[in-house]
Symmetry: D2
Subunit: 268 residues, 4 copies
C-alpha cells in the first residue's frame, strides 16, 4: 500500500502541499496512519504539468524523507496540476521504473492498491497492453500495466469508461486464473486538464481516498494531511471524482462488471 | 553493445581477472576497443558460485569504474565460476533490474547483442516466457527475456539445444513482424557446473567473443584483456563453447533454424 | 539512532543472523523497538573479514529491506567476523559514503549515537583527524570522524584507551563550544581479530547494546533479535566488551575523562 | 576534469542548450573533445534560478546520458540563469553530495580543475572554511571547499576579489605543503543575478573555457557546443567574465598573489 496526493487548481508551489503541512505526504512516508504498511520507503515520485503538454516526471528509489532532489524540486516548481506518490512495494522490485507516477504522452497516472494474485497473472495482464503501447512498459508493477491497458481501452477519450473496462478485463483474468485475493484500486489520472480520482474494489473494500477544497483548488489524497483534518471528505467506494479545468467537480458512480458472464463463456 | 567476462576453473579471487589486468573489463567499461559503443557506463554486475547451489548476484546502475561496492566485492570473493558484465544500454532503461547477469535458481546468464526490432516485438517476446517463470521477469531487457524463454525451452536439460530453439522462436517472431535488423547473440550461461559460451547472429555478424586458457582455468570475454593478447582465441561464429566442471572444453556448431517455414505458414 | 549487529566466532553465513531470525536486523530497519526513531531507512551496510587482512565492505543508500544486493551478499558470504548496520540519519546526508560500517586498512567501525551539537562542532572534530588519515574521510558523519580520530589516537595499538582519549577530546571540544546535548556512543570496532563493543554516554544514557552467546560464537546488537530474547545480556553503561579471536570475552570499565580540567584551561 | 555550461539571459527551457544542440553537454559527457578524460560519467547536476531567491538543485551519480530525471527536468524547467555540470571524478567519491553545482543560500558554484596535492592538503583546505559555513560542507571535493572558503572570504560582497583571495590562500597552503601539481581553476559562480566565469591556473594552463552570445543571452561552457562553433570565444587565461542581469558583460583581469611572501613568512 502506498500513499499519494494530487492537486488541481491555481498554480501553487508543490511544497505548499507536500512538505509544509503537518502530517504531509513526506511525513506519511515514514508514518502513515491509514495504511496496512506504515512505512512507505520504497521510492517516491512527482509528476507535474507546466508549459509543455506532457508532464514533468521525477522518480527515485530513495525514501521521500531523505531525497534532497525531491525536496529542492518541490521547493521550486509551481504547477496547476501535480501528482506525488510514496511507495511501499507490493509488486515489482524497488527500482525507479517501478515508482509512481507513470507518464505516457499527456497522461499521468498513479495508484494505490493491488491486483490479487498478480505474480501468477502478470503475463496475462501484460497481454492486455496493446503492441503499440508496449514499448512504454518500463517496469513490472501492476499499476503501470493497468495504466497502459487503460490507454489501450480508450483512456484518452472517455477515461472513467475505459478504466471500468480495464478493471473488468483484469477481474476477468483473475477469475479465470482463480485468484483469491481482491482487486483494489485507489488511483488518480490526468490528461493534463482534468483530474480523475477513482475508488473501487472487487470486494467492496478499496484503499482510503479523500478530497478537500483549499483556497487555490482541489486536493485528493490517500489520507488527510494539513491542519483542518475535518475538512476532508472521503471519496465513496465505487465512485469516480472528476475535477474539470474550470474547477467544477463531480462525483459519479464507478461500476466494474463482475466477470461472472466471462466465467460462463470460459465454461461454455 | 556491452562487454563481459566469464571464468571457470580453480577458485580465484575475482579481481585477479576483473580489475588487475591491463585492459581489464573495468577498464573496458570506459574504453572498449572492439565495440560500436566504446563507453559501457550504464550499469554493471557480477554473478558468482560459492557454497550455495544458486549464484550470488550484485548489480548496480553505476559505471563499473566508480562503483566502490563492486571493487570491494571483487577484492574479497573467491569463486570457481563467475560472470561479470558492463552495460551499454540498447533496450531497457538504466536500472539495476536491467543489469546483467540474470539469475534464476541455479542458473546464470549474460548477453551482448540484440533482438532486431525489439521495441515492437517486446510483447511477443515476453509471450515466449512461460507463466511459471514470468514472476522472475524483473526488468525489460531483451536479454532477460531470452534467458527466461530459454529456461522454458529446456535450458536446464540440454542448454545448447534449448538456446537454439529459443533463438529460432525469436527469429520467427522477428520475421512475422518484418523486423529488418538482425538477431545478434554473444552470451554466457551456467548451471553452476558447466559454462556455455555462445556466438551466433542471424546475419552472420555476431558480436566478438574470445576465450583463453590461463593457469587456473578458462576465461571467456567480449574482447581480450590482460598481458598476452595473442593467447586469446576467437569463438567462431555459429559455435557454442562448453567447459565442463572437469575442465574439458569443446567447441560445437550452434545452428538456429531459419524461420522460412514459419514465414510460409504465415503466408498460407 | 541506528541499529547494528556484529558477530565473532566460527565462520557462518551472514544471513543466518541478519535475515533469518525473527526480529532480525533487517526487520528492525523497518520497525525497531528500542530506538527513538523506529524506521532506519537511510541506508545500510555490511563489513566482513574473509581471506584478506582488510575487510570487505558493502554500503548503500537504499533501506535494507529493499536492497536485493544486500540480500544476495548475506546469502552467499561466510565470515568469522562481520558487522551490519541500518541507518537513521542524524548527521550527514543520505549517501553511500555516510553509511556504516567504515573501514580503514584492517579496521572496521560502526556506531550508534551522536556528538551533541555536531553541526557547529564539525570543523573542530575534523581537526582531530591527523593529516595522514584525512584522505580517508569520505563522508561527513560524526561516526566516521570518531573512527579516524581514534585511529590517530592509537586505535591500532590499544583500542579501548585510544577510544577513551578520542571521546575525551571530543567531549572537550563540546564543552569549549558550549554544546548542550550529550555525547552518546554505542559502537563496534574490529582489527580483524578482536571485536570491541563500547557503551558509554556523557550523560549516563548511552544507546542500548546487547550481547549473547550462540553455538558458533558471540553476537553484539543494538537490540535483541532471534528466538530466545531472554538469552541476551545488556552491555552495562560505561563498559567495553572485548571478544578475542580465541573466543575469550571480557567486560571492562570504559571511562572518559570529564573535560572540566580542559574547560579550566580555556578559562585560564 | 569535468564539463560544464552556464546560461544567463531571457528565460529559456534548459533543454534548448543542454540536450538539443549537436555536441551538447550531455553528448560531451560521453565524448568530450577538449578534456584529458573524454568520459564524464561520474555524476551530473543542474542548478537553476526560478521564483525563489535560492536556486533549485538536482544532482545525481548516474551518467547524464542515462538519467531520465535529468532529461525530464531539462525538458520542463524554464530559467533565466542556470548551471549544468557533468563530472569526471578527480577528488571525492562518486556520490550525489560530490556532484556540482553546489548551492549555499542564493549562491551557486561549479568548477572544473583541481587543487594540486589535494589529498594531502584536504584538512588544511577544510580549515579555510569558517565554522558558520562548515555545516554546509556535504561532500569531500576540492570544488565545494573552494566555494565555501570563498563565501568566507566575502564572495557575497565582491566576488572576484574574494575568489582571488581564496585561491591565494589555497596556493599558499600548497606551497607550505610542497605540492608539486598546479592549482587549476575554470569555474562559474552566481549570486542569482550576475554570472561570473573564471579561468586561471597557477602554472598558466587553466582548463578551457568559452563564451558566446546567442539570441536570448550569454552562454559559458567548457567547450563549444551547438552549430556555429566559430561563434565561441575563449575566456583568456587569468580573466574573469562578468555578466550583469542587465545583459552587460565585461572581461577583467583575475590575478592571484603568488605565495612567495607567505613561504618567506613560514621560513622566518
Amino acid at each position: 500500500m502506498c500513499r499519494f496526493l494530487a492537486y488541481c487548481g491555481s498554480p501553487i508551489l508543490i511544497d505548499t502541499l507536500l512538505v509544509a503541512p503537518r502530517s504531509s505526504l513526506i511525513a506519511q512516508a515514514r508514518a502513515a496512519r491509514e495504511a496496512p504498511t506504515p512505512v512507505n520507503g520504497d521510492g517516491c515520485g512527482i509528476g507535474w504539468y507546466g508549459e509543455r503538454p506532457e508532464p514533468g516526471l521525477y522518480r527515485n528509489v530513495l525514501p521521500a524523507w531523505g531525497d534532497a532532489n525531491l525536496a529542492s524540486l518541490c521547493h521550486q516548481v509551481r504547477s496547476r496540476l501535480f501528482f506525488a506518490h510514496v511507495r511501499a512495494a507490493t509488486s515489482g522490485e524497488v527500482a525507479g521504473v517501478n515508482c509512481h507516477p507513470f507518464a505516457s504522452g499527456h497522461h499521468l497516472f498513479m495508484h494505490n492498491g493491488q491486483i490479487g494474485g498478480y505474480q501468477l497473472l502478470r503475463r496475462r495482464i501484460d497481454a492486455l497492453i496493446p503492441d503499440a503501447l508496449y514499448p512504454e512498459r518500463k517496469g513490472t508493477t501492476d499499476s503501470e500495466a493497468i495504466f497502459l491497458a487503460a490507454l489501450g481501452q480508450g483512456l484518452r477519450e472517455d477515461a472513467p469508461a475505459a478504466m471500468e473496462r480495464t478493471l473488468g478485463a483484469i477481474w476477468g483474468e483473475m477469475a479465470r486464473m482463480g485468484a483469491t485475493e481482491p482487486l483494489r484500486f485507489a488511483a488518480a489520472h490526468s490528461d493534463g486538464k482534468r483530474l480523475f480520482a477513482y475508488r473501487w474494489a472487487s470486494d467492496g473494500h478499496p484503499p482510503s481516498l479523500y478530497w478537500r477544497v483549499i483556497d487555490e483548488g482541489f486536493v485528493v489524497a490517500s489520507e488527510p494531511c494539513g491542519e483542518m483534518l475535518e475538512a476532508w471528505n472521503m471519496v465513496p467506494s465505487g465512485t469516480v471524482l472528476t475535477i474539470e479545468a474550470s474547477g467544477a467537480a463531480r462525483l459519479a458512480p464507478f461500476t466494474v462488471e463482475r466477470p461472472a458472464a466471462k466465467a460462463g463463456q470460459a465454461a461454455a
